[in-house]
């Protein structure tokens, strides 16, 4: 019987359980092990395919046994994801995946729990669950596929759609400021916040790997294309021809440089970011902004997340990575403390508590 026992210590998902002699722990897993027989129903050319491939590869390379992985999703195109990964999976209800995942993780902290959501699911109907899951620092990995459109319901504007975007539900253009995924996660004090893109398999793989290795809530915004309803939405960052000049690949501790041969760079003057050209502008190497993902204040991360075309390139990579106790650790810690403080657990004693009397 595989009941999570009372005494299990929560272990980071990547530490192989010495007691686990399952075959998945004894051999090298490949991407194929994580594929299912379910027919994949995404549109041909959808950005989700690339993400699925990289997630399967990442899982294989991390060596997490399949039976200890759970993918939880909400509703939307991306939320079909769990059906396509050969692990435990739960396709939940719209917006509520972080809440379901909270229950899964608290019931068995030994599991590696992943949430797959989209911009409508995670940032409209489910924003609040996402915020609270992140602030609690529950040890789950949240992958938010952002295609800036409602795809499954066929083309309404989403909360991340650009201001003025014309869609079926906004024929005259939206009049709403879009929500900003990375900033939302930072404001919720998430301990790991990253952004990557479907079109760059290497960057995607690295980011997923970093998220998986983070102890605590990890939030990854994955920029993604919807070929049918929002074709080309992230092309400037995705396409080889423009990518180099229009994106920054963040690396902790490194000066922020980008463009051909890294000849452009980012500086901050009077709290305002500024792009400089190292060939033409007179700037010293030391003036270049250095990325610090481990700062206790998320202010720098927020500044980098803010960078947007056309004035700025889009920043990709890990914005923030700090260590804090996780919710599940603290929860199980309280249980252990209560057990050690209150001595032997005796249910009969609990029922017999207080004033009692006998009826003969």
């Amino acid at each position: 019987m595989s009941v999570p026992s009372v005494s299990v210590l929560p272990v980071a998902p990547l530490v192989p359980d010495p007691a686990d002699s399952s075959s998945d722990c004894l051999r090298t897993l490949t991407r194929k092990d994580f594929q299912t027989e379910q027919e994949i129903r995404w549109c041909p050319g959808c950005g989700d395919y690339a993400i699925l491939t990289q997630v399967q590869k990442a899982l294989a390379s991390l060596g997490v046994p399949r039976h200890r992985c759970v993918f939880v999703s909400g509703i939307g195109c991306s939320s079909r994801f769990p059906y396509y990964v050969n692990t435990y999976g739960f396709h939940g209800i719209h917006g509520r995946a972080p809440a379901i995942a909270t229950g899964v993780k608290c019931a068995n902290p030994n599991l590696s729990v992943w949430v797959v959501t989209g911009d409508g699911d995670g940032l409209s109907i489910g924003t609040n669950h996402l915020i609270h899951c992140l602030r609690r620092n529950l040890d789950v990995k949240v992958l938010l596929f952002n295609n800036r459109i409602y795809g499954l319901t066929k083309g309404q504007y989403s909360p991340t759609s650009e201001f003025g975007k014309r869609t079926k539900s906004s024929p005259l253009g939206t009049i709403e400021q879009p929500i900003r995924p990375v900033q939302t996660a930072l404001a919720a004090q998430a301990t790991f916040v990253a952004r990557t893109i479907y079109a760059d398999p290497n960057h995607l793989a690295q980011t997923l790997d970093a998220a998986a290795r983070h102890r605590g809530a990890a939030f990854v915004e994955i920029l993604q294309n919807c070929v049918v309803f929002n074709e080309g939405t992230f092309d400037n960052v995705a396409k080889r021809a423009t990518a180099e000049e229009s994106r920054i690949l963040l690396q902790h501790g490194q000066p922020i440089r980008f463009g051909k041969d890294g000849r452009r760079a980012l500086m901050v003057r009077n709290m305002e970011p500024e792009v400089v050209n190292l060939d033409t502008d007179r700037v010293a190497e030391s003036d270049i902004l250095v990325h610090n993902a481990q700062s206790t204040s998320p202010a720098l991360a927020a500044l980098l997340a803010e960078l947007e075309p056309p004035r700025f390139p889009t920043a990709l990579g890990v914005f923030r990575r700090v260590e804090q106790p996780t919710y599940d650790e603290l929860l199980m810690g309280q249980i252990r403390d209560a057990q050690s403080k209150r001595g032997e657990v005796n249910l009969q004693k609990l029922l017999d508590a207080g004033t009692t009397w006998e009826v003969a």
């Binding site: 019987m1 009941v3 509703i75 435990y88 939940g92 209800i93 379901i100 009692t356």
Partner: protein
Amino acid sequence: MDPCCSDTGRELLELRQSTVRFAGDSGDGMQLVGSQFADLASLSGCSIRTIPDYPSEIRAPAGSLAGVSGYQLSFGDETTTPGDSPFVLVAMNPAALKVSLPDLQPGGIIILDADEFTTANLAKARYEANPLEDGSLEGYRLIPVAMTRLTEEATKPSGLEGSGRARCKNFFALGLTLWLYDQPMQPLLEWMMRKFRKNPAVMAANGASLRAGYNFANTNELLRVHYRVAPGKLPKGRYRRVTGNEAAALGLITAAARAGRPLVYAGYPITPASDILHELSARKEFDVRVIQCEDEIAAACAAIGASFAGAIGATGTSGPGLALKTEALGLAVMTELPLVVINVQRAGPSTGMPTKTEQADLLMALYGRHGEAPMPVLAPASPADCFDVVFDAVRIATRFMTPVMVLSDSFLANSAEAFRIPEVDRLADLRVPSPTRAMKDFAPYRRDPATLARPWAVPGTEGLEHRIGGLEKQDVTGVVTYDSENHRRMVELRARKIENIAQPIPEARAEGSDSGDLLVVGWGSTYGAIVAAVRQARQEGHSVAHLHLRHLNPLPRQTEQVLRCFRKILIPENNTGQLASVLRSQFALPVTSLSKVEGRPFLIRDIRNAIEESLRK
């Protein structure tokens, strides 16, 4: 016994039953003395039933009508309700008198703190004239006692400050009441030793106050008669006092332990269900994992997620919260995961009257989901029964792989009675083995032919990786499909699985007689009032019986047959006739609904009157 407590030979009358209410300001400690009196009555062998009446404001102005806190209890040989009207009222100030007087029995006893009947306090209670002087209390036996002054005097040696001493007057009142009911002080003094062991001055003052009250009654001729209430006929065993919410929390912990799984309870603060959340939060040593979620929806979802991962997932709420959880309940039906939802009903719709009771969520529990989404529904009959019903709910949920709804209500949640403590080892074994790799032909929707339950394969089990979700699944394989024939079959299977639950539960049986003129049918917290009313009617020779429905879905086998054995059917409910319409539509039987939607439980006489009226017709 303490020699000073001996009786001076005044008249001692025997009663089968009595009701007393302690009423005072929120800060007067009425709940404490009320519950202590309940314990003493229990120790003397009486069956008890209590009901508190707190102010709905957190801290209403002192002395105001809104600030009155009351604790009513009934005790005797066959007590099943907190009593229709108190025989004794202990009123600590004018506001308490004003609020409680309309409920008092004619000729009842009023013990009050005369020191509190000052001009200022009378004004706060909106009395135009002093009721102690204007003759408005004629028809009652009025016993004004200078409690504040006497308490201050009696507690002087304790060393406590003046204001702290005055606060002990609730025990003075309790002492008086103990004498009135011929109850011993000793167990209470022992309780004080435990309760206040860290604060000897408080212990001394409260003890002195209690004795002073008792002795005052004993030596003073104000009270000419005192009473002895007959002991109850409780089954043999060890007992304690529990409220419905306490019992529900204990039921969850116990059931999870008997199931050999951790309990994950996800909740959100809501009156009157929060106490379940509090009780469980304080029991972490039993591996109770409590998640206080960001909202009601998240709480339902987290509990479902926990179930998926192999724990006993439970959530509790009240009406507005249940409305929010609705979509998640549909998910639990579809994914066929165990889940226990405790709905502590309150007066609605919307925010309604959060601290007042009602039973108006029955139809929502039965039908309030989109699609064909059947769910078992159970309702506890009394505070102690909350333990058993919750325990059963866990059993049904795990055995049949289904969400289960428990319909408690505000009355049960806060009311208390004697709870026969079960021997844990003798309780049913609720272990449901989860399949392992060794299971042949595992498929997520391959059902147990007996129960139609699907296997509970939990994450962490090698080789059984599978995906579930809200989309319709193919029978057996669990693959997503929109096949029309399969959908029809799955709808039918899900319905049949729930209907099957009627097999292991006891058949319907009328109490009193198998046939006759009138059957009173009830569910949930109306139980106590119906039992008492039917008993009285039968004692007077009427042909009346009682059918209590603990299971509302599925209904117990033989329900229809039982109903058809009576000429008339009367259904008292704290709603506008929800069970009545269910029974009418299911069995095409004429039934009469007795409706009470006043935010209060039924009195025995409400039902008595309806029985008589219905028999006259």
